[in-house]
C-alpha cells in the first residue's frame, strides 16, 4: 500500500534532464566580499516598480529603505550596502532593456555590518500588519519568478488555507541554492515556516523535497521536534517538480484548475529561500538585501554557492569565482530551463536570480532545426497538457490569435517541450514570442 502511495506522489508528463548538481552540491555557502558599485533596479519583482525615496548624493546604510512599494503588487527595496547614492537613472537590466534603478557606491571602509535590530514581535501583529511588514521588507518569491510574497499571503474572504507547502524541489539542473539552505540553515527554515503557518492559520506545513537530496531530507527531519505539525514529502526527481501546480498535484494529488491559484485548493506555496528570508526579517531584523546564488556551469573556474548582496554586477560575482574560462559563449541568469541569457556582464543580481550559469562552445553550439515530424514527444512532455507542436506551428505562421483557442496563456514556459523535441524546434521561444505579441498588440480602433 505504501509503495502505491509513493507511486502516486507524482504529476503526469514532464521531462528528466541531467542534474549537473555535483559541481556545487557539496560546497558550503560563502560570502562574496563587498565591491564598489551596486545597481538596484526599481522593478525587480513582478508588478508595479517601487518608488525611490532617496535622492542622488544621499548617504545610505546597509538595510535602509531606499524605495517604497509603488502599489499593492509591489515591494520595498533596501540598500544592500553602506555608501552613497551615486545616481538614480536608467540602467541595463537582465532583459537587455534600460530601466530605472538606484546606483549606490559602497564605502570602501564601511564594516557592512547590519545594525543590530530587535526581533519583531510577529505574534502580536495583526494579519494586515504582518502582510504590510512582509511587503516593506521587500520579500518576493526567491525561486525565480520574484512574485511579491505578501500578495500570496493576502487571502480573500471565504478561502481557508489548510496547508503551507514549502518548495524545496529545486528541479532546475545546476542550481543548488535551496539545497544548501536546507542543509545549512534548517532552523531558520523551520522558524520561518512556523511564522508563516501561524499567520496563514494553516493546519500543517509540508516540505516537498526531491528525492535526489537525501541529505537535506535527513537534516531537516532531524530539526523537526516530535509533535510539530511539519512533515517532509520526498518527491520523484522530475522536471518541473518545483512548479507550484505540479508540486500540489504530487503532494496532495489535487489538480489546480487552469486559471485558478493554489489558494483556491487551500494551499500556499513558498520557496525555501522565501521562507528563510521571512525568518531573517522577523527574527533577525534583516530585510531582503542579499540572496544565495549558485555560480556553476562548465565555463566558470571555481563554481560556488554564494551569498551575494543584491545589485552586485554579475562581473564582480564571476570575478570572485576565478573568472570565466576561455571559450565561454553564453551566460544564463536562473536555471538552464527557464532562466534568461544575459547580454552584458554589467547587469545586477536581482531578488529572483537563483543562479549564474556559464556555458562554453560545446554546450551552446546551435543545433540544426529540422521540420516537425509530428512525433508527439512535446505533447507527452507538457505538464499543462497543451499542444506545443501546434502552438509552435501557429506561431511560425504568425497566427497568434488562433493560439488563444489552444490556451497559449496557460503555458508557463517551463521548456519541457523544447527539451523533448528531437527536431530542435525552439518551441518555447515561439510560444513566448506569440504571448508577447498578443500582450502588446495595439487593437485597431473599431
Amino acid at each position: 500500500m505504501r509503495a502505491f502511495r509513493r507511486l502516486r506522489r507524482n504529476f503526469e508528463h514532464g521531462v528528466h534532464p541531467a542534474h549537473f548538481k555535483d559541481q556545487t552540491a557539496d560546497l558550503p555557502i560563502q560570502r562574496v566580499p563587498f565591491g564598489k558599485d551596486y545597481v538596484m533596479p526599481l522593478g525587480q519583482h513582478i508588478g508595479v516598480p517601487a518608488q525611490a525615496v532617496v535622492a542622488a548624493g544621499e548617504r545610505v546604510t546597509r538595510g535602509q529603505l531606499i524605495a517604497e512599494p509603488g502599489g499593492f503588487v509591489s515591494t520595498g527595496l533596501h540598500s544592500p550596502v553602506t555608501g552613497r547614492v551615486r545616481e538614480i537613472g536608467d540602467f541595463r537590466g537582465v532583459d537587455g532593456r534600460f530601466a530605472p534603478a538606484i546606483a549606490i557606491e559602497a564605502d570602501a571602509f564601511a564594516t557592512q555590518q547590519v545594525d543590530a535590530r530587535d526581533r519583531i514581535d510577529w505574534e502580536a501583529l495583526s494579519l494586515e500588519e504582518f502582510i504590510k511588514a512582509v511587503q516593506m521588507a521587500g520579500i518576493v518569491g526567491m525561486g525565480g519568478a520574484a512574485f511579491p510574497a505578501h500578495v500570496k499571503l493576502s487571502v480573500p474572504d471565504g478561502i481557508t488555507i489548510r496547508h503551507l507547502l514549502i518548495n524545496g524541489a529545486e528541479c532546475e539542473p545546476y542550481l543548488t541554492t535551496d539545497h544548501r539552505l536546507m542543509l545549512e540553515r534548517p532552523e531558520a527554515l523551520l522558524e520561518g515556516a512556523e511564522i508563516m503557518r501561524q499567520k496563514l492559520g494553516a493546519e500543517e506545513t509540508v516540505i516537498g523535497i526531491e528525492a535526489n537530496k537525501p541529505d537535506a531530507i535527513e537534516i531537516v527531519q532531524q530539526h523537526i521536534a516530535p509533535g510539530d505539525p511539519v512533515r517532509i514529502v520526498p518527491l520523484k526527481v522530475k522536471y518541473p517538480q518545483g512548479a507550484e501546480k505540479m508540486m500540489i498535484k504530487s503532494v496532495f494529488d489535487v489538480e489546480v484548475p487552469a486559471g485558478q491559484l493554489p489558494r483556491d485548493v487551500g494551499v500556499n506555496v513558498n520557496n525555501v529561500g522565501t521562507i528563510v528570508a521571512i525568518a531573517d526579517y522577523f527574527l533577525r531584523g534583516m530585510p531582503l538585501i542579499e540572496r544565495v546564488v549558485t555560480v556553476a556551469g562548465p565555463g566558470v573556474t571555481y563554481p560556488a554557492n554564494l551569498i551575494v548582496p543584491l545589485g552586485t554586477p554579475v562581473r564582480d560575482v564571476v570575478k570572485f569565482c576565478g573568472g570565466l574560462k576561455p571559450g565561454t559563449r553564453e551566460m544564463i541568469m536562473g536555471g538552464p530551463m527557464m532562466g534568461r541569457p544575459i547580454a552584458s556582464l554589467d547587469v545586477p543580481i536581482l531578488k529572483g536570480c537563483s543562479g549564474v550559469l556559464v556555458f562554453t562552445e560545446a554546450e551552446t553550439a546551435r543545433r540544426k532545426e529540422y521540420p516537425c515530424i509530428s512525433c508527439g514527444r512535446c505533447l507527452e512532455a507538457c505538464p499543462y497538457f497543451l499542444n506545443p507542436s501546434r502552438l509552435a506551428r501557429l506561431s511560425k505562421a504568425r497566427m497568434f490569435d488562433e493560439m488563444k483557442a489552444y490556451n497559449v496563456f496557460d503555458c508557463v514556459e517551463c521548456g519541457c517541450c523544447t527539451f523533448a523535441c528531437p527536431s530542435n524546434i525552439p518551441i518555447v521561444q515561439l510560444i513566448r514570442t506569440a504571448k508577447d505579441d498578443l500582450a502588446h498588440r495595439k487593437e485597431p480602433d473599431a
Binding site: G96, F98, I342, P426, Q429, R432, D436, P444
Partner: protein, 280 residues
C-alpha cells in the same frame, strides 16, 4: 414499382414544401441592401489592409455609400480607381496627403554596437525577448525583418545594412509594419514632410553615442538652427511639430554630427554606408 416511386415523391414533396417557405421568406423578410455597396466594393482593392481605419474593404464601401468618408481615404487604390468610385457615387473624391512609413532608427549593422550575439529563431520579437537581441541599444531596429514579412504590399525589404528599406512608391501607409515592430519604430508620416528624426534613444550625450554611432546625443543644434518652435527636445529626442512653427528647411540638419535628424527626399538610408560598400 410502387415502393420505388415513394422515396422520390417524398423528396420532391419536401423540396416543394421548403421551397415555398423560402419563397415566402424571400418576399417578406428581404433585407434591402443598397446595390451601390456591392459595386463600390468591387472597385476597392480588396486587400482588407486597414489603412483607411476601417476593419476591411466592405465596411469602407458601406461608409462610402453612406457618405461618411471620402473615396481618397483609401490610400491603396490608384488615382483612377478613386476617380471611378467618386464618379459612380457622384461625390467629391477628396484629397488625401500621401503617407509613407518611416523608421525611427538608422542604426544598422555598421552603426549600432553589438554587445552579444543572438542565436535563435529569426524574428525581431523573438530576439527582443532574449536579452534585447544582442545590440547594445535596446530601443533601435533589431534588423531581423518582422516588418518585411508583415508588409502586405511588398514595400519593405531589408537592406545590406540590416535595416528595412521602405519603397515609398509601393508603401500604402497601412499599419501592418507599425503593428509588427516590437520596438514600435515605424511612423506614418506625410511624404511631403522632409525633416525626420531617425533615432529613438532616450539617452543624452556619451551614454547614447557609445551605444550607436548614429544615435541622437540630444545636443540641441537642430532646435537652434530650425525655425523657432518647429523642433523641440522631448525626452532627449527632437520632436518636429509642423503646427507649432515653420517653415521647415534643410538647414536644421546641417550641424547634426550623427545624422540622426535628416532631410529626406524620397527613401530613407540612401546615403548611408551599407555593409557591402563600407565594410569591404
Amino acid at each position: 414499382m410502387n415502393s420505388l416511386l415513394v422515396a422520390p415523391a417524398i423528396m420532391v414533396g419536401i423540396g416543394l414544401f421548403f421551397g415555398t417557405i423560402l419563397a415566402i421568406a424571400q418576399r417578406f423578410l428581404k433585407v434591402d441592401e443598397d446595390p451601390r455597396i456591392e459595386v463600390t466594393n468591387e472597385l476597392l482593392p480588396g486587400t482588407n489592409c486597414g489603412a483607411c481605419g476601417q476593419p476591411g474593404c466592405l465596411p469602407f464601401a458601406e461608409k462610402l455609400v453612406a457618405g461618411a468618408v471620402d473615396p481618397s481615404q483609401c490610400t491603396v487604390s490608384t488615382a483612377e480607381n478613386i476617380e471611378q468610385i467618386a464618379e459612380f457615387l457622384e461625390v467629391d473624391a477628396g484629397s488625401q496627403e500621401k503617407l509613407v512609413s518611416r523608421l525611427r532608427c538608422s542604426g544598422g549593422g555598421l552603426q549600432a554596437h553589438q554587445i552579444a550575439e543572438y542565436q535563435g529563431f529569426e524574428g525581431c520579437r523573438a530576439a527582443a525577448m532574449v536579452s534585447g537581441g544582442g545590440k547594445g541599444c535596446s530601443w533601435g531596429c533589431l534588423g531581423l525583418g518582422d516588418c518585411e514579412v508583415a508588409c502586405t504590399f511588398d514595400a519593405i525589404h531589408m537592406n545590406e545594412n540590416g535595416l528595412p528599406q521602405v519603397d515609398t512608391g509601393k508603401c500604402r501607409a497601412c499599419p501592418d509594419c507599425v503593428a509588427a515592430c516590437p520596438r514600435d519604430l515605424f511612423e506614418l508620416v506625410p511624404l511631403s514632410q522632409n525633416l525626420f528624426v531617425q533615432c529613438n534613444i532616450p539617452l543624452a550625450g556619451e551614454a547614447a553615442t557609445q551605444l550607436c554611432s548614429v544615435a541622437c546625443d540630444a545636443c540641441g543644434k537642430c532646435v537652434a538652427d530650425a525655425a523657432p518652435g518647429l523642433i523641440r527636445m522631448e525626452n532627449n529626442l527632437p520632436v518636429i511639430d509642423y503646427s507649432a512653427g515653420g517653415p521647415a528647411a534643410p538647414e536644421a540638419v546641417f550641424r547634426c554630427a550623427t545624422r540622426s535628424i535628416v532631410w529626406l527626399e524620397g527613401e530613407q538610408f540612401q546615403n548611408q554606408e551599407s555593409r557591402k560598400a563600407g565594410a569591404v
